[in-house]
Symmetry: D2
Subunit: 286 residues, 4 copies
Amino acid sequence: MTAEGLILKIDCPDRPGLVARIAGYVADYGANLLELNQFTDRVNHRFFARLEIDTNGIDVSVEDFIDGFGTLGRACQARWHFRRLPFLMRTAVLVTRTDHCLNEVLWRTRLGEMPVEVTSVIGNRDDCREIAEKEGIPFHGIDMAGDAKEEGFRRIAAILRDEGVELIVLARFMQILPQWLCEEFGGRIINIHHSFLPAFVGANPYRRAYERGVKLIGATCHYVTTELDAGPIIEQEVARVEHYHTVNDLIRLGRDCERSALARGIRYHVHDRTILDGNRAIVFPD
Amino acid sequence: MTAEGLILKIDCPDRPGLVARIAGYVADYGANLLELNQFTDRVNHRFFARLEIDTNGIDVSVEDFIDGFGTLGRACQARWHFRRLPFLMRTAVLVTRTDHCLNEVLWRTRLGEMPVEVTSVIGNRDDCREIAEKEGIPFHGIDMAGDAKEEGFRRIAAILRDEGVELIVLARFMQILPQWLCEEFGGRIINIHHSFLPAFVGANPYRRAYERGVKLIGATCHYVTTELDAGPIIEQEVARVEHYHTVNDLIRLGRDCERSALARGIRYHVHDRTILDGNRAIVFPD
Amino acid sequence: MTAEGLILKIDCPDRPGLVARIAGYVADYGANLLELNQFTDRVNHRFFARLEIDTNGIDVSVEDFIDGFGTLGRACQARWHFRRLPFLMRTAVLVTRTDHCLNEVLWRTRLGEMPVEVTSVIGNRDDCREIAEKEGIPFHGIDMAGDAKEEGFRRIAAILRDEGVELIVLARFMQILPQWLCEEFGGRIINIHHSFLPAFVGANPYRRAYERGVKLIGATCHYVTTELDAGPIIEQEVARVEHYHTVNDLIRLGRDCERSALARGIRYHVHDRTILDGNRAIVFPD
Amino acid sequence: MTAEGLILKIDCPDRPGLVARIAGYVADYGANLLELNQFTDRVNHRFFARLEIDTNGIDVSVEDFIDGFGTLGRACQARWHFRRLPFLMRTAVLVTRTDHCLNEVLWRTRLGEMPVEVTSVIGNRDDCREIAEKEGIPFHGIDMAGDAKEEGFRRIAAILRDEGVELIVLARFMQILPQWLCEEFGGRIINIHHSFLPAFVGANPYRRAYERGVKLIGATCHYVTTELDAGPIIEQEVARVEHYHTVNDLIRLGRDCERSALARGIRYHVHDRTILDGNRAIVFPD
């Protein structure tokens, strides 16, 4: 990724000449197209692209460059989004007990692998408080037991709004989000599910995988929608298992799948490498 | 695998001293234990083992060695099976249109990778007739359209009985077997399903995988039981897919998964490396 | 891949505006850009692209469209290549004894997976003659034992020239090509080496892998250059091995790596999805 | 792994009846064989086995059980080793700058995935001091620059002897150990090398992988011997790379390979699942 510049994500109905027009706009103002990923969905006749643009040499202001694109975007009936680089995506991480996914996010963030700023860790249990606080990140403990659940979600939403997060990571958060919350933060919530979806939707996937006697277990990183475990899939990972692996072994082996699928999924999102195409996620990996 | 000798598969309720007694029996008559694989299911307290035995040095006849084991086997309340080596497993392959799985089986058989003798290829369409006949293998075309289906399955069963097959491979055979046939040949029918089960049970898994937007597709080699696509899994294989892959691409990429999962599944079965443990298959790979 | 149209491969020194100019040329004459893959090597400041173009709607002849691009290509100091679709790449397959790679190429060709026409199979032994001839493909047996080797290579080159092949596949051809032949057919010879290069360059890689005790074996599909096993790598595949695998097991497991790495490597080449960047191969996979 | 009991590792010249005698010994004193892994190297005629034994029901003391085995072990000319469970393997971790491998070891230890007690972290730079100390583990900073190197290694050896470690993990320790140290701690030093050995022995493997244009990078976990990067391999891991990955991307992707190969390698070692067979490591995975 460039140190400075712009990322443009765009999608619109397909028609001839789109690349020429978009790349032409970039070139016309003296910007340099560093990377272009493009995909045409020939079933639904829709065009998707991601551009990485070096704006060092442009002969207008960056604001002007972005504004001026609107005319072209509207002419194409496009949805588009510019991101200015460098940036850090404000991110909240929601957890319950297990810490491996949280640890992975924190470690990669600290290493600079991902342009993320973790604004807070929110837990319906206190197990991960110490990890967050050692890292200097605020931890919000939210009671969600029994009748407190509804109020708990309202408090979580308030925190998310307050912190202005652009990404919410469910890092093995063992609560089903209410519909209104999924809708309010649509396209900004990433979950890690501990099975290779659509196998084992719902609870206890490792136990069910053991009982079914599968030879592969997995994990799925997906956007959260109002339908449980049915949102657009960003990344999946599998691991081989044998007959001698117990449910606990599956849980252990699965943790590694979860960590890597989640890490890659977040990476693609924060680098603006994902675009939604109905219930499918277009991913331009790096 | 040894050129000459015995393979013993055994399973029984777990108790202390089983390995000592079984290996002791082998040693007592001067046979040599070449390979021992053992597994104890600690949930169900059941013991499973596979032994490869060199009988060159034994001081009784092989028949006597096998017979004499019965006393020990019964004392352990075991199920057991001896196979004399070398052997070729008599195998029928059932097909419909596509030939990639059939080709794979024939190629590996010809190469001597698997101790298999394909006694016949049975098809409800004629698409694979030429491949079988070029190889010098009888092809039985069985009409199964509409009302002919029931009679078709009776004819297939008659062929299988007649040829005394020990293995029936459903190599993309696009018909659901009737319950009576599954039961008659229980534990001897291997299917290749074109998804990573339990995802996408039933028809058109590649189309459904495309629509769900999964990032991995797969294939599952399993024993056939009376419940569709729910029998014990022997082997699974997956391949990575991207948003730009169409349903046809998934079919193409899936073929490679199907070929390798089926080939390995058959290999484990014909080498007596599988033992059923309820609805799970214990597999001692080689 | 489109049924009809053009594939353009191009590479040139990097400069701003390249995508706009190339895509602009396509749009200017009413052609439709179906797929664009682009890569900028920021180390060597070189631009690489592959375009798939639907020419159905163009308002000049295809010849004229191709010719006219020359002005732009030269202005960019580019190397470029147009391929008209549909096409079949004329291909010779060189073999010695083992047939698994040859079989794989023939099977995928027959299935229509790859736009290849196998013009002949050339062997320095007769082991694969029957396979070729059953398929209706001429087999040239070339004696290369001892002193006959030099004359043998001259005869092979004469056949390749005569048949006007655009691709030469070394499908486990166990002879080292002379320098003059590598040079004459530079960029058109693909080899499958039975190790994950650069490990185990040269002879007997499986034996050496066994002796080294590696836990992964592999295969490498690469372009042939005058330096043994050192040409640009197109594709690699690995498989897990265990301590109990003998050299023969490694050979068996390796065959599957060789088949799939070679098949994908050929696929990328014949779909014009590879561009050489010094000793590295840029591959835009599909 | 059992909560309480014994692990027996044994290897000896192959002969008939070994499993019967060893398992017989276990059964004779009322112990229960929970798991048996066995391998016969038919090339070198050597027998290897690992037994997991439940000693709860034995009718002698565990010491006596262990002592009494000596007669059988000597009769078989065996090397053998008993480990009493539960146990924690005393382990020192050597580091330089990068912390991902250290983090992985600490995280898995904390989680109880591996029976390890990290006695100290030793670094020739101070970069990892904070991580160790946050975890409550002593950090020894050892100056090894220039002339201080020899003295540095003597100090390290003194610490290792002093702490009575049974395992030394080189977690991206960027110094070549002197021969005397490799010999003194032979079979107890595990290194993670950042390539799929034997490719890219020595320095800068990621840069060399980039320059060679490989499509797979990897990591190798191996025992350290006096020959650089040539010791017995315990585990290897690979990741797919593309032409657009820079050297820095390879380093990033490689970290994940290093972490998982090292974690699994350590796991196998501390669970006594490895036995050396010349320069090859027999690994009975779990």
